[in-house]
């Protein structure tokens, strides 16, 4: 069995006037949670749409579960697009049975699988209601059920947490982890870096249609070096920005993340901080995915400008 769930080779897509994705290659190993990151308009959605054959690539090949992409292989994928949508006037149960039917699941089987999911996402009492009577969060959960009812081998979800309350987010996160445990490969596209950082095994970063970063989360972090300092304190920390060797400060008020220039010794910073602040914590940490994202994207932007 091929160990990659998805393989994209040299994918390219141009629209009138601009190139959305250029020579993009990607390997998504089986049974992992893969984070697809990138700023707005980077080409994430276009890439996902090409995997689903909603758009045809201008060049390149796509393999799904070890075979060239075709309709049968795509039926093994569950796709939840960023633009959510359900038929507003359909009863929830019929809607979900229909969504399973277009993926080839017979009605009886769909109904059997439906109940546990409705229970789990607390939608059981809405089963016979029309979709447009559901709140936005409930529709989001219903959409998720519609995506997984045919028990896909690969799950592609675009911003799975948006629109959910904290309870809903927890339920969704558990559902994703359970599915991964059961053998599903999950591709997750999101802007919520904390979610990605906690959930994903591997990430890839797309910027302006090109892949500029790819690897396991720990690899990516290691590549960015251990030159980030986290400080928690009481007092006015604004002077830190002016210290020599400080590349960038991310200010959270009572908490700062300081990125030092390569090769800078953090000791002088510690001494200065002890002198001027009531320090509660001083730690050399891995950079957050958030910082890596911002830095890579803005750095890349400057190079290209």
């Amino acid at each position: 069995m091929n160990e990659n769930a998805l393989v994209l080779k040299g994918i390219r897509k141009a629209f009138a006037g601009h190139v959305a994705v250029k020579d993009f290659s990607l390997e998504v190993p089986r049974q992992c949670i893969f984070g697809l990151l990138g700023p707005n308009g980077a080409g994430k959605t276009t890439t996902l749409r090409m995997i689903m054959d909603i758009l045809g690539p201008d060049a390149g090949t796509i393999e799904i579960l070890g075979q060239p992409a075709n309709h049968a292989a795509r039926d093994r994928i569950g796709y939840m697009p960023e633009e959510r949508g359900l038929y507003p006037r359909m009863v929830l149960e019929e809607q979900l049975v229909f969504m399973a039917a277009i993926k080839g699941v017979p009605k009886r089987q769909a109904l059997e699988r439906l109940s546990p999911w409705l229970e789990r996402l607390s939608l059981a009492e809405w089963r016979k209601r029309k979709t447009n009577e559901l709140s936005k969060g409930m529709q989001q959960k219903a959409q998720f059920i519609a995506t997984v009812l045919h028990q896909p081998d690969v799950l592609i979800v675009d911003e799975p947490m948006s629109g959910l309350d904290p309870v809903g987010m927890d339920v969704m996160r558990e559902a994703l982890i359970d599915m991964r445990r059961a053998g599903t490969t999950i591709v997750l596209s999101s802007h919520q870096m904390e979610t990605v950082e906690r959930l994903c095994d591997r990430v890839a970063l797309i910027h302006r249609g090109e892949k500029i970063l790819d690897g396991s989360v720990s690899e990516v972090k290691a590549r960015h070096g251990k030159n980030t300092v986290a400080l928690a304190f009481e007092g006015d920390g604004s002077f830190i920005e002016t210290l020599p060797g400080v590349a960038k400060v991310t200010d959270f008020g009572q908490y700062l993340e300081v990125r030092l220039q390569d090769g800078t010794d953090p000791q002088p910073l510690l001494q200065e901080a002890v002198k001027r602040l009531k320090l509660r914590r001083f730690e050399i940490v891995e950079p957050s995915l958030h910082d890596i994202f911002v830095e890579t994207v803005t750095g890349h932007g400057k190079e290209m400008a």
Partner: protein
């Protein structure tokens, strides 16, 4: 049929058939049709009260004969005219009195015969209501008969004999067809008109339903989920089949109730129901479905290209143009159903659904013409569906600015 296609067809069909508009339209249709047929029949039976008229006779000799002739006019055993007794005073005084009576509604009208009425064949009718043509024509004919008789007599001829010799022609129209002959009193034409209108309205109405359905999928953003699970051609085809069968269901309900009404009215003694031949029925279904496929595919691509129903309006008219032109042609086709115009128009794909059907109802054309028309229409449909599928595939994911026509053409080439 693939499971996906079947699922889409079923969903579209059920969603259409469940709407209030469909249920109301399906039930109301036959009621309206029945009303259109029964109300005139009832109205024809319950004739209004006889017309109360008076005669002002300036000749001083015609009144008796005219009044008698008018009183003799009967319709279903009932008098058509109620003639007031002769006035005793002068015509001037009588006319003034009648005029007043008409205005205060104790009289419907009065007839004035001038002095030289016999020679000039002139008379005048004064009334509040002068638009009751049937009554007035009867009145005119009756008075004219009296005057003619008078003239014949004074010329020394026997009116009865002249009448007998100048009897006018009573021509029946009998329609000959392979199925035999039957007398036709215009009912066939009315039937052709009714079926033609249903066909025309049906094609456009259900075509528009496909467009609305595509726009709704775009608005609710469900289209991307659908496109990720179902190839766009399957999705388009499923929509056409689902919505098309909903339309067909409605027609079938209508046809069955029409049949029931005609059987019922047949047993009531109305023998003039034109018979709907199996050929007419079959060609109605065939041309409805083909016409629907042709226009619904065009409508679907409009729906895919725009964001709202309002935006669609400017594209709808050019698409409807062929069928509108076809409807403009129908009187000419009716006049000469085998002429060159009828033949040409019944071969053009966008126009043939209505015109070929009309020709079949009026005068069964040669088989090869019917088959050629259908074949050309099917070719047209294949072209339109091919184009629509391309516009559809690109258009359903386009939001924002309404595309221009050249842009849509570019989608067709690029998709």
């Amino acid at each position: 049929m693939s499971a996906k296609l079947w699922a889409v067809v079923k969903r579209e069909y059920i969603e259409r058939v469940r709407t209030k508009a469909f249920v109301i339209g399906t039930i109301l249709g036959p009621i309206v049709m029945a009303a259109l047929m029964i109300v005139p029949m009832l109205a024809a039976r319950s004739k209004s009260k006889p017309l109360r008229i008076a005669v002002v006779d300036w000749t001083g000799e015609l009144r008796g004969a005219v009044a008698q002739a008018l009183l003799e006019v009967e319709d279903d055993g009932r008098k058509r005219f109620d003639v007031q007794p002769a006035a005793t005073d002068s015509p001037e005084a009588a006319e003034a009195a009648y005029r007043k009576a008409v205005l205060d509604k104790s009289l419907d009208g009065y007839l004035s015969l001038p002095k030289d009425a016999v020679a000039t064949a002139k008379a005048s009718y004064y009334g509040r209501n002068v638009s009751n043509f049937t009554n007035l024509r009867t009145l005119e004919r009756t008075v004219s008969g009296v005057l003619v008789t008078r003239r014949l007599t004074s010329a020394g001829l026997d009116p009865a004999r002249v009448n007998d010799l100048t009897r006018s022609l009573d021509m029946k129209t009998i329609r000959l067809s392979e199925q035999g002959e039957r007398e036709d009193e215009g009912a066939a034409m009315i039937l052709a008109m009714v079926l033609l209108m249903i066909l025309y309205v049906g094609i456009l109405m259900w075509g528009q339903a496909v467009m609305t359905s595509v726009i709704e999928e775009k608005t609710s953003r469900v289209v991307e989920v659908m496109a990720s699970g179902v190839p766009s051609t399957t999705l388009l085809l499923g929509k056409l089949l689902g919505v098309g069968s909903a339309g067909l269901t409605q027609f079938l309900v209508w046809a069955l109730s029409l049949l029931a009404v005609s059987l019922a009215s047949g047993s009531l003694g109305a023998t003039d129901m034109p018979e709907v031949t199996p050929l007419v029925l079959a060609s109605f279904v065939v041309f409805y479905l083909l016409g629907f496929f042709f226009y619904a595919s065009l409508y679907a691509s409009i729906g895919a290209a725009v964001n709202t129903v309002q935006e669609a309006q400017s594209f709808v008219f050019p698409v409807m143009l062929p069928i509108i032109l076809a409807m403009v042609c129908w009187p000419a086709v009716m006049q000469s159903p085998d002429g060159p115009l009828a033949f040409t128009v019944s071969m053009i794909p966008g126009m043939s659904p209505v015109i070929m059907f009309l020709r079949i109802v009026v005068l069964t054309p040669p088989m090869w013409q019917m088959l050629l028309s259908i074949a050309l229409l099917v070719l047209g449909i294949l072209g339109v569906v091919w184009m629509a599928a391309r516009v559809y595939r690109v258009g359903i994911l386009m939001y924002g600015k309404r595309p221009t026509f050249p842009e849509i053409m570019r989608w067709v080439r690029r998709a």
